[in-house]
């Protein structure tokens, strides 16, 4: 029923589709910007914008690098291009009548920029009008909720990308793969390596190579490790423990050869946030989110419409029945490993783009992935997607709850995991019979 040719064709289709979607999307992406950032701030006294104040920025040599005048909303921005310690000062003669500095504050602020970790570095002055307490500006609540929801969607899409692979692998082999986190890191790190080797090429090249490397890792792990072990009739619990060992080996190999320093991709180092209606987003997010969404839709399409996808679902559902109806189980498993690993790599690269590339990035994500997969139902691909989005949303929304702070982002996801196992252990889309 499923000839080697169809398997190969299916795989090829998955990979080319992956590639083209990425190529397309990343060419649309804005090009890399030069190194640099923006020092900015909003001058306010008692909640009122202070207009027409001159802010002067000079570098450590005392050289003036730029100046700006606060606008109608009290905002000012001065671009900087090198890592340095800057002295930001207000020209006191430009201050409106009656506006002065709060007790203990002066017209000068030192700001050290030692890494291009963000697009804008805020600089605050403590102004006051006549002596009342100045207020912080806070966006209205609905706007903050919307902003959080968008970043929840982004986190959710990335978690879903990584989770689909874990869930599919569990579905077809019954293995809870603890090394999946390292497959995420591996993609991000190899893309970083390729970028460093050829920095002049467009970013889509290292991204593509990183995903390919991820697919290759999946191939190697299945053919080199897990298939021989399955042949030895090792059970899934033992294999799970083997995958824990494997995770350590991969993680610390990455720690040695990539280093333990967190790094950012050279392209897309900094981007000015753009306002889209009420929400502010860096343009790269506008690429990452549609691409991730597209990949997930593509996965759904391939699972539903192609032969290899159908056989993946068949094997996940009932391996003996699938085998007896002529599906080559080993081929299917191999395809799942390759596709799952490539998707994990893609998730890792996007995560590295939005945050930072780091040897522990996958490990930090692993429990969120587990939570997503369990929430959606272990072994179901669509469940992993739904679960990923829900977990991303839940963890990003947490910081909106007054009592819970950012510390709890991660915890909420885990609590969701534990609660779902209590209430509906088969997950949202799971089937009861999967449980013992």
């Amino acid at each position: 029923m499923l000839s080697p040719r169809t398997v190969r064709f299916g795989l090829l289709a998955v990979l080319t589709a992956l590639i083209f979607s990425l190529l397309g999307a990343l060419f649309l992406a804005p090009p890399a910007e030069a190194q640099g950032a923006i020092l900015n701030g909003t001058l306010k006294a008692q909640g009122e914008s202070v207009v027409g104040v001159v802010v002067v920025v000079s570098d450590s040599a005392g050289e003036e690098v730029g100046r700006a005048t606060s606008g109608d909303d009290g905002k000012w921005e001065v671009p900087i291009t090198k890592l340095d310690e800057y002295l930001v000062s207000i020209d006191v003669t430009s201050l409106p009548e009656g506006v002065g500095f709060k007790e203990g504050a002066t017209n000068e602020v030192l700001k050290e920029i030692d890494a291009w970790t963000r697009e804008k570095f805020p600089v605050g002055f403590r102004l006051e009008d006549g002596g009342a307490v100045p207020l912080l500006t806070i966006d209205p609540l609905w706007q903050r909720i919307l902003q959080r929801a968008v970043s929840g969607l982004r986190v959710g899409l990335l978690v879903a990308l990584a989770a689909v692979g874990l869930s599919l692998i569990y579905g077809v082999t019954g293995l809870v793969n603890f090394a999946h986190s390292e497959m995420v890191t591996f993609g991000a790190v190899t893309a970083f390596g390729f970028e460093a080797m050829a920095p002049s090429l467009p970013f889509v090249v290292p991204v593509f190579l990183g995903i390919m490397a991820g697919a290759a890792l999946g191939f190697v792990l299945e053919r080199g490790l897990f298939k021989p072990l399955r042949k030895r009739k090792m059970n899934n619990i033992s294999l799970m423990i083997v995958s824990i060992g494997l995770a350590f080996v991969l993680r610390y190999l990455i720690a040695i050869y990539f280093g333990t320093e967190p790094l950012a991709y050279k392209h897309y180092l900094l981007q000015t946030e753009r306002n889209i209606g009420p929400i502010a987003l860096p343009p790269k997010d506008l690429v990452i989110m549609p691409v991730a969404l597209f990949l997930l839709v593509l996965v759904g399409f391939l699972l539903q419409k192609t032969r290899i996808g159908t056989s993946m679902r068949a094997v996940a559902d009932n391996p003996p029945l699938a085998e007896s109806s002529g599906i080559d189980i080993n081929k299917t498993i191999l395809a799942v490993w390759i596709a799952g690993s490539a998707l994990a790599a893609a998730g890792g690269i996007f995560l590295g783009l939005t945050n930072i590339v780091e040897w522990q990035m996958g490990e930090k994500l692993l429990l969120l992935i587990f939570a997503a997969v369990t929430l959606g139902g272990l072994g179901t691909a669509y469940g992993a997607i739904v679960g990923g989005l829900a977990i991303g949303m839940a963890s990003e929304m947490t910081s909106m709850v007054p009592f819970l702070g950012p510390d709890f982002k991660f915890m909420v996801a885990l609590v969701v995991l534990i609660v779902i196992l209590l209430v509906r252990p088969q997950g949202i889309l799971g089937v009861r019979e999967r449980l013992g």
């Binding site: 033992s238 083997v242 350590f248 587990f370 991660f410 534990i418």
Partner: protein, 358 residues
């Protein structure tokens, strides 16, 4: 060729190469892991519970005790604090067990590691800084820099070897010199290990033990015989968890403080490797496994370090700053390799070492 190998031999510091691992094998650290492995042995080895959150019990014991001591409850009584730590661990076992033990093995693994992480992150959070010391741990940073340690009462006041007029006195020889405080914790620790091992072994030999082993082999069969499988599993989880809490307490007292980073998931995986190395479901497997685990790990680390320092391993392959990471790669290789080629470890029986979820 022979000239070359003589050179290598001459430059290697054999005293350190063998002294460091042997010291680690008998040190408190090994006793801590042995104790935790004894607890895990009851969970995994005898009951077949895939507990990947052993460190949660250690954290419960250590933090339960440390909070009581630093809050000065009952005048900061250490014995009362230990009791609270153990009760807290038992409580955590119930919190994990009641929902999770109804699930199949691999789900249990995910839940236990998740709960362990929830606990670590909550202890680390600044929300309850007053109680837990947040990221700084307990005793609080300023108290610690003033020389206050959790281990003072046990390590000095209750230590028959310790003389207040000569606090720096040591005992031992070669690489195995220990100060009186460490020596005391080693003695107490290894005594606890022996005590718990014997207790677990007696338990396992009892009718109760035969039931949990039956559950490990075939849960449905045990249920068919009218045994309340869930209750037996829960009891096993609580007893093993309390032993794990003892390990956490021993670590807290001997190091003098608790801090959330001591309870990362990798600690659990260390314990797993130690248990599987020694042999799950055996009497002395966890103990021998824990000692050997540290021995092997530190031998490899020391060997690689000396090879790197002498330039026999080129810098591009492993640089001096990476040597401590090699140890963890070694741990991963050990865990996976043992599982593949010798799942019964050194002392276990093969037919008892192979679990499956179905």
């Amino acid at each position: 060729m022979s000239h070359n190998s003589e050179l290598i031999l001459a430059a290697i510091d054999f005293s350190k190469l063998f002294g460091t691992p042997i010291r680690a094998m008998i040190n408190v650290q090994a006793a801590v892991f042995a104790l935790a492995a004894v607890g895990l042995n009851l969970h995994y080895g005898f009951t077949g519970l895939l507990n990947v959150g052993m460190v949660a019990f250690m954290a419960a014991g250590a933090y339960g005790m440390a909070i009581i001591v630093t809050q000065g409850v009952l005048g900061g009584s250490v014995l009362f604090a230990i009791l609270i730590g153990l009760i807290f661990a038992a409580f955590i076992a119930l919190v994990i067990g009641v929902p999770a033990l109804r699930l199949r093995g691999d789900y249990l693994a995910i839940v236990t590691i998740a709960i362990a992480e929830v606990m670590r992150v909550s202890f680390r959070s600044t929300k309850w800084l007053e109680w837990t010391g947040g990221p700084f741990g307990l005793p609080r940073a300023e108290e610690r820099s003033a020389g206050i340690s959790l281990g003072d009462r046990i390590g000095e006041d209750w230590n028959p070897l310790f003389a207040a007029d000569d606090p720096t006195r040591t005992w031992g020889f070669w690489q195995l010199e220990f100060n009186m405080r460490d020596l005391w914790f080693m003695i107490v620790g290894w005594l606890l290990v022996i005590l718990c091992s014997v207790m677990v072994w007696r338990l396992v030999q009892s009718p109760w033990g035969r039931v949990i082993k039956a559950i490990r082999e075939d849960e449905d069969a045990a249920r068919a015989l009218g045994k309340n499988v869930f209750n037996y599993k829960l009891q096993s989880l609580v007893i093993g968890g309390v032993i794990g809490a003892l390990a956490g307490l021993l670590r807290a007292f001997s190091s003098g403080f608790v801090q959330s980073d001591q309870f990362k998931p990798q600690t659990t995986f260390f314990i797993w490797t130690a248990l599987i190395l020694g042999g799950a479901a055996s009497k002395w497997g966890p103990v021998i496994g824990a000692a050997l685990f540290w021995g092997v790990l530190l031998f490899v680390e020391e060997l690689v370090r000396q090879l790197v320092d002498n330039g026999w391993i080129p810098e591009w392959l492993i640089s001096p700053t990476d040597v401590s990471q090699v140890k963890l790669i070694m741990m991963g290789v050990m865990l996976a390799g043992l599982m593949i080629w010798r799942p019964q470890g050194i002392l276990g029986k093969k037919e008892e070492a192979l679990l499956d979820v179905r």
